[in-house]
């Protein structure tokens, strides 16, 4: 099983985002950096393995896992029933709120206000799935391959609004782009979990133990402070 392999080869392969700041983005050397990358490093260290980062997009991170290309998905992955049929989830490791964001001028305040508008979202993300549940036919939803596409579409004005995480919006905001994403309304509180393949009980237990310990000793909170600017919320 996976845990056995990891301890034997001393390599932990983790799917991480590179288009989803602050969880994962790239530095000027195009290497991934961010919350998820640090979390992956923390888990790998506790497992006594070297971490091997595999950049993925929202739409293909689950296939990466199910086809055995990675051991864990630490990719700001939200939990839902459909996904739970296919993969297992650890305990939560990061807070996350989904919302619809738009420029200051946009008068949207609730779901109904989206009617007649175009919203960009990343295909296969939690936002995509949750948004698809609450909007009517009157809303045009544009689904991009990855967050790069979604963000580019918003910044270039190709879509009026985007559905994404609060922290993502904050990270875009911080870079001072030509269009500022302002929160219009929240869709869902959807903390992030580590995704694992089914039937990997030992690894799941081990990851849960590591995360629980990290929450208790404050090391995860340090990561949160570094990337989100606030410590971990108590209820996570």
């Amino acid at each position: 099983d996976a845990l056995e392999r990891i301890t034997k080869e001393k390599v932990l392969r983790v799917a991480v985002p590179q288009d989803f700041p602050p969880f994962g983005s790239v530095g000027t050397d195009l290497k991934p950096i961010g919350y998820d990358i640090d979390a992956a490093g923390l888990i790998a260290k506790e497992l006594g393995a070297k971490v091997e980062l595999v950049p993925v997009s929202s739409s293909n991170r689950i296939p990466y896992l199910t086809t055995g290309k990675v051991d864990l998905v630490i990719s700001s992955l939200g939990k839902n029933a459909e996904r739970e049929k296919v993969i297992d989830f650890s305990v939560a490791y990061a807070p996350f709120y989904n919302g619809v964001f738009g420029p200051e001028a946009s008068a949207v305040e609730k779901v109904e206000d989206l009617n007649g508008k175009t919203v960009g979202v990343t295909r296969g993300s939690v936002e995509d799935i949750e948004l698809s549940k609450i909007v009517t036919d009157k809303v045009t939803v544009r689904r991009y391959e990855d967050n790069n596409g979604t963000i580019s579409a918003f910044l270039s004005g190709q879509v009026e609004l985007v559905a994404t995480g609060n922290v993502v919006a904050a990270a875009i905001f911080e870079r001072n782009p030509p269009r500022l994403p302002i929160l219009k309304f929240l869709i869902k509180n959807s903390p992030c979990f580590v995704g694992l393949n089914k039937d990997e009980g030992p690894l799941l237990e081990k990851v849960n133990a590591i995360l629980t310990k990290a929450k208790a000793d404050g090391s995860l909170s340090a990561i949160a402070k570094k990337w989100l600017g606030t410590p971990l919320p108590k209820d996570l």
Partner: protein, 216 residues
């Protein structure tokens, strides 16, 4: 927060161009070898072999490289074949390239006038000898320009591998765009880089063709 200078953008793109070049080289060399085998099978006087190669060519010319890439990358593992991005890219680019090259080269063999086959046959040369001494040397000569021309398609084809996470020029471009919010500049540079790689190939294909026409 991070700040990409123009030089950061350019140097990252240039670094990524290494992968584009490497992928192209792999595709071209492996695809060339595979293409030659497919060609020989395609023109051999053996019906079933010809038919199989026809299907092979139709299949890989008739489906998007993108889909071939996804299938090799995500599907082969399901049947137990481990595929890294490298193997997936190499395998699908090789299949794609070999199908097109085999077809291009077959056209060149067909372009050798029938009279050449007949004249060599009436000198009592065998099929193999005809191929070796009369047909292939002539086909080879006319095959060079379209082959060089096709290498441009291979270089451009590698752009699609960005979708399975390859950080070649196109992927680097999308990543940098996101970090810099300067799509016009970044995609402009990306386009220029491809042009710098491809245009010399196009030019030499044309020059070779002209040389060939003059030599005739």
């Amino acid at each position: 927060m991070l700040n990409f200078t123009f030089w950061d953008i350019l140097s990252n793109l240039l670094l990524a161009a290494r992968w584009t070049v490497l992928l192209s080289a792999i595709a071209f060399v492996c695809g060339g070898v595979a293409g030659l085998l497919v060609l020989l099978a395609r023109v051999a006087p053996l019906r079933p072999l010809q038919g199989a190669m026809k299907i092979y060519i139709e299949l890989f010319q008739g489906t998007p490289l993108l889909m071939q890439l996804f299938i090799v990358f995500f599907v082969l593992p399901l049947v137990g074949v481990e595929t890294s991005p490298w193997t997936a890219a190499a395998v699908s680019l090789t299949l794609f390239t070999s199908a097109y090259l085999a077809e291009i080269w077959r056209g060149c063999v067909d372009a050798v006038p029938k009279g050449q086959w007949e004249a060599s046959a009436s000198l009592a040369l065998s099929y193999g000898e005809q191929m070796r001494y009369v047909v292939l040397p002539q086909a080879l000569r006319i095959a060079v320009p379209p082959t060089v021309g096709f290498s441009v398609q291979v270089v451009k084809g590698t752009a699609v591998t960005s979708i399975i996470g390859f950080v070649e020029i196109t992927k680097a471009g999308t990543m940098i765009t996101n970090a810099t919010f300067q799509p016009f500049l970044v995609y402009g540079l990306v386009g220029l880089l491809y042009f710098a790689l491809c245009y010399p190939l196009s030019l030499s294909a044309k020059a070779l063709e002209r040389k060939l026409n003059v030599a005739r």
